[in-house]
Assembly symmetry: C2
Homo-oligomer: 330 residues x 2
Amino acid sequence: MTTRFDVLSIGNAIVDVISTVDDNFLTDNSLIKGSMQLIDETQAQSLYDIMGPGIEVSGGSAANTVAGLASFGNSSAFFGKVKADQLGNVFRHDISAAGVCFQTPGAEDGSETARCLILVTPDGERTMNTFLGACVEFGPDDIDEATVRDSKVVYMEGYLWDPEQAKLAFLKAADIARSAGREVSLTLSDSFCVDRHRDSFLELIKRDVDILFANEDEIKSLYQVDSFDEALQAVRQDCKLTALTRSRAGSVIVSKDEVHVIDARKVDQVVDTTGAGDLYSAGFFAGYTNGKELAQCGQLGALAASEVISHIGARPQTSLKDLASQNGLL
Amino acid sequence: MTTRFDVLSIGNAIVDVISTVDDNFLTDNSLIKGSMQLIDETQAQSLYDIMGPGIEVSGGSAANTVAGLASFGNSSAFFGKVKADQLGNVFRHDISAAGVCFQTPGAEDGSETARCLILVTPDGERTMNTFLGACVEFGPDDIDEATVRDSKVVYMEGYLWDPEQAKLAFLKAADIARSAGREVSLTLSDSFCVDRHRDSFLELIKRDVDILFANEDEIKSLYQVDSFDEALQAVRQDCKLTALTRSRAGSVIVSKDEVHVIDARKVDQVVDTTGAGDLYSAGFFAGYTNGKELAQCGQLGALAASEVISHIGARPQTSLKDLASQNGLL
């Protein structure tokens, strides 16, 4: 079955503001290293005021994934809401220039385009503070049915559960996808996000999700268990196909009949881990939507993640298609 | 004589939009590699539409210099005009967070904050396309006399000659500085900029400029000569102190009585040359305003330039004070 898009992703449309800090900055400001917390406009302004100089670069978890997928040469689309302001124009330019079809109209009124204040510590770990801004305007009306039907996989981020209307939008997209015989995929996004929406995620995974992405903390939080292996056994019962990422320990892909353990790729220096999970998904889909074996999908995920953590920013800075070709993976 | 600021710099307040391109992109779009060209809003939009994904980072030549100087631990101030819009807020945040005093009010109306579309080729060379935007609103009324009087050196970029009111503003600042016994410094900015304003620059250099910065192309353009040495001999007659930068060939500092030839510092990989000259000036001033020998000023300039060309963006990403200390230069 031919579709126009390999993957349609739905997520918060965010511009990242990246700044380097030392560890004391996190403790002094009661920030939990490695997490994503939601902040309001006032908090965003207060934090920005005390941050050092920044670099602005388009981000958003699900958006990063399709930007990465486009870099592999795959066709992709994105739904998400910016405001029609300068940063909204930046987001729209960057994702379109990456080769992703992005046609969700920008909001004319309301909050500014969302931004994520990302604090990167010397170990390369990122701590994210997200002001959702215009993302709260995203809702079911922004789901273009024809695009959903014309995509092999509809992928969305767990972060979408935070703005209420976005959650409804995703559920609508999932229904359309299922009725069109398409696959539905979810990334759990963040362990605190899982805490906020555990029951709802579990229900969705059992009912609608064909392909689940989670890191170790997220999957343990989902099942409220202490060991990775317990979580793995649990998710194996609930979901057809799951890719579990474990940072330097690589990843595990598990279905009812298969288990693959994939090594992480060594990088010279971890500069900024922002987007590692997002790009793992991109690589996975680059293989999956081309009918590759699961192990190869995981290797492509590891390859894309290794590229993005070797520089500042959550989108690839080199052609992932060329990189995969050089590594004999595509 | 104690002053509040070591250097006050005056320049165009610009946010850079940096994207990597191959050489064909430049030739296909009739862009001259390594140059800065002025473009209007329509041209800026057209070029942006065909550029790849970008990174936004505060720039502006003279602004980069004081941001670099602040990184050395020196006190500095900046005059320049943004609009009170999102990119204007980015510029204001970044230069303030770098430790530079920046109090020029933003324009409420008129064009958007200036941006420079910077295309970086695989050799690390940058080609700049500047939409001046709100910079044209900068004028003599933006010159705060007390700040000028309270700065050891007033430094400005030749690019200021492009918007007419900014030129008048600089001349006003130069007059105040001279009458207060302060020094006046100019960077020629770009050889095409020198072409546009040659007579005016020559007059200014002979009358007002104590410290001149120029690269090889600029100084040859100023005197319309073919050889670097001819240009060097000419400027030696016209200006008390000149620092001439020559990219990989290092720099030459020349006064009536002294000549110093400074080697460039080796860098592992030239990633993006944007800001090399700006940071050379920063390092030079870090030494000069602390009473260091001219050779040491040049070495500090070379050090700061080597830091900024080793990454994307025209402002330092590490403490130049620490770097200078590690290299035994301060």
